[in-house]
Symmetry: C2
Subunit: 182 residues, 2 copies
DNA sequence: CAACCATACGGAGACCGTCTCCGGTTAGCA
DNA sequence: TGCTAACCGGAGACGGTCTCCGTATGGTTG
C-alpha cells in the first residue's frame, strides 16, 4: 500500500470512530469523508460497504472482548452472578455505538459478513463463560452459545433502540440468566 | 373530511398495506404515493410521519391481537405451554411486516408514539395471559408485562433482522419462558 | 343552478445520503 | 529526473424524504 493511501486509510478510520461515537452507525459516510479531508471516492475505495469501515474500527475491540471475559471469569460468586456479570459486559461491548447491537447481532453466524470475525470473538468469549458454567453443572441442557448471544443481543438491541437505561436492562438479563441456568 | 380526501386516504392505506407486505416498513413512501395514484404531498398531508401510516394500517390488527390472546388462553396445557403458545402468537403478530418487531418494540411505553395504542393492545393481551399464570402461581416474583414484551420483542427483532426461521426462534422463546416461570 | 371559498390535490424541487466514474495527481522506483 | 501504476477527489447520477404553492374541486349558500 502506498504511503499516502495508508495515511488516508488511517485518518478515515480515526475520524469514523469519532463520528460513529457521536452519531451512531447510521452516520453519513460523506460526512466522515469530509471531516477526514478526503473525497467520497477515497472512502468508498477503501471501504466499499459500511460494514468494512465498522470492521476496521473494531480492530482493537476484539482484545477488549477477551479482557472482559477474563474479568468476568475472575469474579468470584455464584453461577448466576458470573453469568450476569458477563451479560452486562456483553451488552456494554456491543452497545458502544448506537445501532451496534442490531448490526452485530444480526451478523452473528453470517460468515460472509465483513464483521464476522468480530462476532466470532464474541461467541468465543461467551463459550468460555459457558464452559465454566457447564463444568459446574449449572447449565440447563440444550443451551448453546449462539442462542445466548442472540438472546442477550436481542435485549441489547431493544435497549439501544428504545433508549433504555441500565435499570431497565438488568431485569431482562436476569430473566435470560434464569432461563438458561438450572 | 371531504369525499375526495376520504377516497385518497383509504386508497393510500390499502396500497401501503400491500407495499409494506412486499418490502417491509422501510419501503419508499413516494412509491406508495405513486402506486396509489396521488402526489407525495397528499400522502404526507394525511400521514406526516411514517408511523402515522403504519398506525392506520394496523387499525384492524388490534382485533387480531385480542383474538390471538383468546386462542392462546383457550388452549389447555401446562403454564409453560400456554406461555409458549402466546409467545409464538406475539412474535407472529409483530412480525407481519419486515421491520415491525423493531418499530413496535421500541415504541413500547412511549405514549407519544403514533402507534402507542397498538402497543397498549399488545401489553393488555399479554397481561391477560400473565394474570392467568399469576393465578396459577406459575410466575416468578417481580416479572412485569413490559419486561416480557421487551424480551419477546427482542427475540422477534433479532429473528426479523437475521432472517431466522421458526426452528431458531422457538428455543429462544423457551429460554425466556423458563426465565419467567417458577 | 351559479357562484364562492375552504379544503384538498399533486408535482416541482430542495435537501440529504449513497455510491461511481474518470480526469488529474503523486509516490516510488529505475 | 522521468515514468507509470496507484491513488486521489470532486462532480454528479440516483433514490428517498418532505415542503411549498399554484391549481382544482367538493360542498354550501343564495
Amino acid at each position: 500500500m502506498r504511503a499516502d493511501a495508508q495515511r488516508n486509510y488511517d485518518r478515515i478510520v480515526e475520524v469514523a470512530r469519532e463520528v460513529f461515537r457521536e452519531q451512531g452507525y447510521d452516520a453519513s459516510l460523506d460526512e466522515v469523508a469530509k471531516r477526514a479531508g478526503v473525497g467520497p471516492g477515497t472512502l468508498y475505495r477503501h471501504f466499499p460497504k459500511r460494514e468494512n469501515l465498522i470492521d476496521a474500527i473494531m480492530q482493537s475491540w476484539v482484545d477488549r472482548v477477551d479482557e472482559a471475559a477474563d474479568k468476568a471469569l475472575a469474579h468470584e460468586g455464584s453461577p448466576r452472578d458470573l453469568l450476569l456479570a458477563w451479560f452486562e459486559q456483553y451488552v456494554a461491548l456491543i452497545s458502544l455505538h448506537k445501532g451496534g447491537p442490531a448490526k452485530i447481532t444480526s451478523a452473528m453466524c453470517d460468515d460472509s459478513s465483513p464483521i464476522a470475525t468480530k462476532c466470532q470473538a464474541l461467541t468465543r468469549a461467551t463459550s468460555r463463560v459457558l464452559e465454566r458454567l457447564e463444568a459446574e453443572g449449572a447449565l440447563r441442557e440444550g443451551v448453546d452459545v449462539v442462542q445466548m448471544c442472540r438472546l442477550v443481543g436481542g435485549v441489547a438491541t431493544v435497549a439501544d433502540q428504545a433508549d433504555l437505561g441500565t435499570d431497565d436492562v438488568q431485569p431482562l438479563l436476569g430473566v435470560v440468566a434464569d432461563g438458561v441456568l438450572r
